[in-house]
Symmetry: C2
Subunit: 329 residues, 2 copies
């Protein structure tokens, strides 16, 4: 499989998901609620999580058509978190469009999030599988963790001291858990063995970690046009990224004071501060450290695939990891 | 069965629920989230919905112990709606204590609601039943409807014209659906026949309607001390109750203008307006009409019980309806 084949297959799976996602909201009223739900679900996005459900299924030799409803469910759960998180973060826009609470109001955004979760379960329950209870348990445990992950994230914003291990605990819940659930769900629906399903869960968890680390890293080193966001946005926001926390661990004296000051004055630092902080990141080697962590986490994820049969699903999953590596190298 | 026996049995079932509800939140952190969840679940309340799950199960000859997890799930879903609705209504207190968003903040209230739903599914999934998918579908359909019911309720607040049939559609989703789901869930878990389960669903829907109508009525005719709320609160808030909507349908001229004015000046009318509006309610017979509707809906609910075996569960359900009738007679 080459990059072009990967891209073509990915586009095909994404189309399957997008088509079904467009038909999830069937109610016409209450109007504001139905319209806002459709608005959210038509915002685009890469649909990574749902594609991973399909690939998890294919990797254990299952029929991906049986995993589509679960793929939709995971995508809906992801969108629920986006809508509620945007309210909590008071975010004005997402994917270049106003957020739900900006376009309508906070009450409607609350309801949209709630109803999208209920639709997620409705979709999940359509899955034909020999053990629906297990599928639902997996999904529900993910739901619990994602809420706790967001709560941890909010708590971090208020704390002055957060360690790198706190950071990992948070991103494992907030980001890793959903990716891990996606790949494991696919494996369970495709009737994979426990060994395969667990390997796919660990694959997802490590991939999720690598994703999040990459996101943190790209904020500093990416090409602005390609990245689609303003470089240094995390620094300006005083966000407790891997880079910042690791740098605080290592820095001393004036450098440490500079780093601590951006946490306290979140949202105010200017261009010059971004440059200063980036220089500190380089000085203490945390950029290289992040790259190293991404390489290692990705390698761990790839190693998990060894227990699976070699088929198109498994090769697609390998590509997922490898593309990630290329982007940060 | 007499009132004392009913009361004793009810207290016993409520204790079973309260004990289990106290053990639902096992996490200690994130601290604000765990504490606020415990705060919500320890607020007391009659636990009507969970007791109805147990009684639905008992009424079809099932073992109530098998229905406890589902009873907890319904109670959790109910508490989720309270927490999020309080945010949307900007309510300062509930059951004599500050609401979650008042005691903590809106973000924590959002997360508490979200996590309580996830815990509801976790509890539901513990239920030992031959068809877990069906149980989950029932619960999920209820979840969808409750969100839509709340959205309708919010939309009503902004509308100047709402019909009595709009009102019924809204309360059937917002209140009736959860009561109907409670009794039907119990019946399904107790391995009732389809005929029994459907009768219990209709019993619940009508009981829910009667409950809501009673709530509307008591706002005007109740004894303030016994009711536990200020009389005329709905009138002051300009809430579109059965009484108000029915009176608007019937009134003409100056009376109609008075009624329409309280909708527009919601939250401002004083003691005198409450008296004036109450007088209009009497004049157009809408108080009697509400009583009549409650009697009729309750009678319909009681008739549904005819297909069930006569046992303690069924008799308890009869008492539920009859106590409701007594209160409004």
């Amino acid at each position: 499989m080459n990059a072009r084949e990967f891209g073509r297959r990915y586009a095909h799976l994404k189309r399957l998901i997008d088509r079904r996602l467009g038909a999830v909201v069937t109610s016409r009223e209450p109007r504001d609620l139905a319209e806002a739900c459709r608005y959210v679900l038509s915002a685009g996005g890469k649909r990574v999580r749902s594609v991973l459900v399909l690939l998890g299924c294919e990797a254990v030799g299952g029929d991906i058509r049986q995993a589509i409803d679960a793929g939709i469910a995971v995508e809906l759960l992801h969108n629920f978190t986006l809508v509620h998180d945007d309210v909590m973060d008071n975010a004005p826009s997402r994917r270049g469009r106003p957020t739900v609470h900006t376009k309508w109001n906070v009450n409607n955004a609350l309801l949209v999030g709630d109803v999208v979760v209920s639709l997620a379960y409705r979709s999940l329950l359509k899955t034909r599988t020999k053990d629906p209870r297990r599928i639902c348990e997996l999904f529900t445990n993910c739901f619990v963790d994602v809420c706790e992950g967001q709560a941890l994230d909010l708590a971090f914003e208020r704390k002055t001291h957060v360690s790198v291990s706190d950071y990992y605990r948070m991103i494992d819940k907030k980001t890793g858990r959903m990716i891990a659930t996606a790949t494991e769900l696919g494996a369970r629906i495709g009737n994979g063995t426990d060994r395969e399903a667990e390997a796919l869960r660990r694959f997802g968890r490590n991939l999720g970690r690598a994703f999040q680390l990459q996101d943190d890293l790209l904020d500093v080193v990416a090409d602005e046009k390609e990245f689609g966001k303003t470089i240094g946005g995390d620094i300006v926001a005083g966000k407790k990224t891997f880079l910042l926390l690791k740098a605080i661990e290592r820095a001393t004296g004036k450098d440490k004071r500079t780093l601590n000051s951006i946490i306290k004055t979140a949202g105010r630092p200017d261009r010059r501060t971004v440059e200063k902080v980036t220089a500190i990141y380089h000085k203490y080697g945390v950029i290289d450290e992040a790259r190293q962590q991404i390489r290692q986490t990705t390698a761990t994820s790839l190693a998990e695939l060894a227990v699976l049969q070699q088929n198109r699903g498994t090769r697609m999953l390998q590509w997922f990891s490898e593309l990630l590596l290329r982007r940060v190298s």
